[in-house]
Symmetry: C2
Subunit: 240 residues, 2 copies
């Protein structure tokens, strides 16, 4: 097995990003249209190869994120999703991709650059329903990113990463509703959000005026974990 001529193979390493945001109360993902083969003209997750063999994986993810969206590193949740290394996932040869999940507040339209002819926020539903096809195994990576976001919403304070600096409790509720694809009772949600220790802290004298009674403003709290978690409704589907 280990004869003295044998040497382990060297492979290309890429970083791909599942960047999720909320636009008009719907979950969107940032996609790029490929300007080069393979898969020229089809949409793909933003990403690319490591720059050099000293670049850290997370640093590469940050670099790709900046290149595509130019957003400030604050308010930005980034975590590793996993490694995707099926032998035939890239027709050019063996490429192992490390995927990262990024959650961001609503952003302006991105602009294309590099080998990319278009960069745009697309409805996640358009991809999961099959109306939009992605290059490589990116459909699979996106599905796992969404599932990760769904489950982290329940146990952590991830939801605030979808919101801007300040937000109302109704804003927060829209995050849960969009990511989980359910309707929640606003009155019960209100209390759950407030009672979860460290989740959100009120912004003094802050109110947002729309139609109806102005809402208090909050910002993200210090905690990373939800102790009495915001739970997905299970048995009784009586929420609205």
């Amino acid at each position: 097995m280990l004869d003295n001529k044998w040497a382990p193979p060297r492979v290309l390493v890429a970083v791909d990003l599942v960047i999720l945001t909320l636009r008009e109360a719907k979950l969107h993902v940032l996609l790029t249209e490929r300007g080069i083969d393979p898969f020229r003209g089809t949409y793909a997750l933003p990403g690319g190869f490591l720059n050099n063999d000293k670049e850290d994986l997370l640093a590469a993810a940050h670099r790709e994120l900046q290149e595509e969206t130019a957003l400030d590193p604050e308010n930005l949740h980034l975590e590793q999703l996993g490694a995707y290394g099926a032998p035939e996932r890239d027709p050019r040869g063996r490429v192992i991709s490390i995927a990262y999940l990024a959650i961001s507040p609503e952003l302006p339209e991105p602009s294309a650059g590099g080998d990319v002819t278009d960069a745009a926020w697309r409805l996640v539903d358009d991809v999961t329903s099959g109306r939009l096809t992605l290059a490589f195994d990116h459909h699979h990576i996106l599905e796992e990113g969404i599932e990760r976001a769904r489950s982290k919403l329940e146990r952590t304070t991830l939801a605030t990463a979808f919101c801007g600096e300040t937000f109302t409790i109704a804003d927060l509720q829209r995050v849960y509703e969009a990511v989980w694809g359910v309707r929640l009772d606003p009155r019960n949600f209100y209390r759950k959000a407030q009672h979860a220790p460290g989740f959100i802290v009120p912004v003094e004298a802050g109110r947002r005026s729309t139609r109806g009674r102005p809402a208090k403003l909050f910002r993200a709290g210090p905690s990373k974990v939800l102790q009495p978690p915001i739970t997905r409704p299970h048995a009784t589907w009586g929420n609205r």
Copy 2:
């Protein structure tokens, strides 16, 4: 950035395994003593480089697992933990390691082979407490593996993967107690385990006789998820 001479770097890809089991009601991890530099003589997680550039990551994990432990692929839970790619994690150069988490029922002592001078089950506590030092960033990988196991116990039926074909509810309880490091009330645990739909199914006419009343035997149920989950005790630490 992308001049026409530039080519992405090729790096070595390794697979490392966090193999957890229960021995004498304590959580153990399989470690190997390295027979070659770097880190000759220190303990490390089992693992190795990809065999060739067509080998799938999960297949490589399975291969390494067989090489070290010779256990049958049945009753074996294997899942990807993540990619570890810090630039200086391996003194030989850039190596990216894909870690897998394996959960197995109690096994006989493994035997060393390959570049390894010893292979043995070691107490997880010996590593986390610092009494035993691991090569590379394997301490970090192990910590994440344990944390993954802990949280999956709560939401999924992973616990049965620690048990053999059939087991008693008390066996199952020992799994939770060892992995979480807590004591649970056997009477409440009994009902929770039984009431969780799809978790465990009784084996007809099966009983295990020790001292005291013989216990009913069960086997793993069809479900992968725990709907009324077995929860870690939180506020009140009144379990025993």
